[in-house]
Amino acid sequence: MVIVKRKELSFWERLYLPEVVRGLSVTMRAIFRRKITRQYPEEPLATNEVTRGQPRLAVNEDDTIRCVSCGLCEIACPAYAITIDGQETDRFIEREPERFDIDMLRCILCGFCEEACPKDAIFMSEELELADFSREALVYDIEKLKRPISALQRRSDYVYKLNDRWHSSSSTS
């Protein structure tokens, strides 16, 4: 048990009124300070490459999806937001997702999926807005998740940079 000793109040403090006046002066000064409100819809949140928006699936230039439905993001996801079923494809990568759902209501934008993906197929986009009229509509399927890789360029460059850094530091050590 800890006994917290209260600060002894001085005479003026005990009178209370002077302290009230002091408090009022603090708030009065605050009134004239610069306001930090952001007028949201007109003034959208600035994003940069560090922004972790909603995860999106990268689509190559030739319109093929990068994901091979390996399920690593599914298992890495701490919120169990991802559900994947695979299927065979004739492409070189042999397998692609048949179903790739992310429940955006569950997603906590942690970026673990991006980190887990061995195929650079999922990236945290800049998209932050999420609104709809039903829960079902917010479970994004593969069509809603597809984004051309160009739209994810900034983030993917950043991720590669991070990986390189990790790479060099781990191999030198």
């Binding site: 009230v20 408090g23 708030t27 306001k35 930090i36 409100t37």
Partner: protein, 387 residues
């Protein structure tokens, strides 16, 4: 007196029939009151925003000026819920009881002196010219507690009941102080008529805020408690009582409670202006035309209104026992002593400016007495050992 005034009136001035005059003034003043109350809801949010580095409502109309309108529309369209087990009559009566007394009190506030436009005279700028308006105001402030306690009791909810109980205890306690402070003013200016009190201050140029500093401070503090405002908003107490007496209220009934609260604030601001700041008077200028007096009065009242908001967003809420201690052990004795000193000064015919000096002379020993640390912890250990 009114009768006299009519007979003595200058024959060249023309007057409207009394009924028309009243209706006209009532419309004007109540319009102003309700408008101010509505604007206060906006002001409350704006001021809170500013104090918290925010902008506040700015979506509806320019600078959010139409926000109260939008709120009103919202309130009208909200579902009205009467909880199971509520006393239906009292439940519906309570919001009315809370709003009406506050509004009635505005009737006797003298906003400005005689209004004359050309040949026409409209009398003073107040709805009713009551000789005993101070008593009238006192009676009405006493009534306003009914709305709160009835609302709390009839909702059939623990939180509401607790809120209502607290509010009634608090209002009764602080009403004493409030009225004692007013009594000092009445003694000082020798009248129960608000017009006369204002006029007296204006003519001598010695506002009661200067000659009655103790009463002024006590009045301001008690007025916060009377209107259930922070730091004395024990009736509502969101974190403790989930809204207190109005937990169960929705829609227009809820809006009425709020209207009552804001009207009470406006009335209190006007009263404070009249009692302590000389109404529409300006220092060192004896006679003012009504069109100067009215804005001056409004400006003074507005500063009190701003004080309400400012304090709300500055001070944390008291604890209930602190509230009661402050009310009964500090403010009430102070008010009594002040009343006694005032009486003595008036009876002995001393110069009123002696009052502040005397006040300080009385206050300092009092503060020392109150400010002494009380041996609370000691008595606690004592009890503990005994137990």
């Amino acid at each position: 007196m009114p009768v006299e005034a009519v007979t003595l009136a200058d024959t060249t001035t023309k007057e409207l029939p009394l009924l028309v005059l009243w209706l006209f003034k009532a419309g004007l003043i109540y319009g102003g009151l309700l408008g101010t109350a509505a604007l206060m809801t906006l002001a409350e949010r704006k001021v809170s925003a500013w104090i918290q580095y925010r902008i506040g409502p700015n979506r509806v109309g320019p600078w959010g000026l139409l926000q109260p309108l939008a709120d009103g529309v919202k309130f009208i369209f909200k579902e009205e819920v009467v909880p199971d087990g509520a006393n239906p009559l009292m439940f519906r009566l309570a919001p009315i009881l809370s709003a009406v007394p506050a509004m009635l009190a505005i009737a006797v506030i003298p906003f400005a002196g005689e209004v004359k436009i050309g040949d026409w005279s409209f009398g003073t700028l107040s709805i009713a010219n009551l000789d005993i308006s101070v008593l009238y105001v006192g009676a009405l402030t006493g009534l306003s507690v009914y709305g709160v306690i009835l609302g709390g009791w009839s909702s059939n909810s623990k939180y509401s009941l607790l809120g209502g109980l607290r509010a009634s205890a608090q209002m009764i306690s602080y009403e004493l102080t409030l009225l004692l402070a007013v009594l000092s003013v009445v003694l000082m200016n020798g009248s129960l008529d608000l017009r006369a009190i204002a006029a007296d201050q204006a003519s001598t140029g010695m506002w009661n805020a200067i000659v009655q500093p103790v009463a002024f401070v006590l009045f301001v503090i008690a007025m916060f408690a009377e209107t259930n405002r922070h730091p004395f908003d024990f009736a509502e107490c969101e974190p403790e009582l989930v809204g207190g007496f109005h937990t169960e209220y929705s829609s227009m009934k809820f809006a009425l409670f709020f209207l009552g609260e804001y009207c009470a604030m406006v009335v209190m601001a006007c009263l404070a202006t009249t009692f302590f700041l000389g109404g529409g008077a300006l220092p060192f200028i004896a006679e003012l035309a009504w069109y100067v007096e009215l804005p001056v009065f409004c400006a003074k009242a507005s500063s009190f209104l701003f004080l309400f908001l400012w304090v709300r967003w500055t001070l944390p809420r008291f604890r209930y026992d602190q509230l009661m201690t402050l009310g009964w052990q500090v403010m009430l004795p102070l008010a009594l002593v002040n009343l006694f000193v005032t009486g003595a000064v008036v009876a002995l015919g001393w110069h009123p400016l002696l009052m502040p000096l005397l006040a300080i002379a009385v206050l300092v020993p009092f503060a020392l007495l109150f400010g002494r640390p009380r041996p609370r912890s000691e008595s606690l250990t004592h009890e503990g050992a005994a137990g």
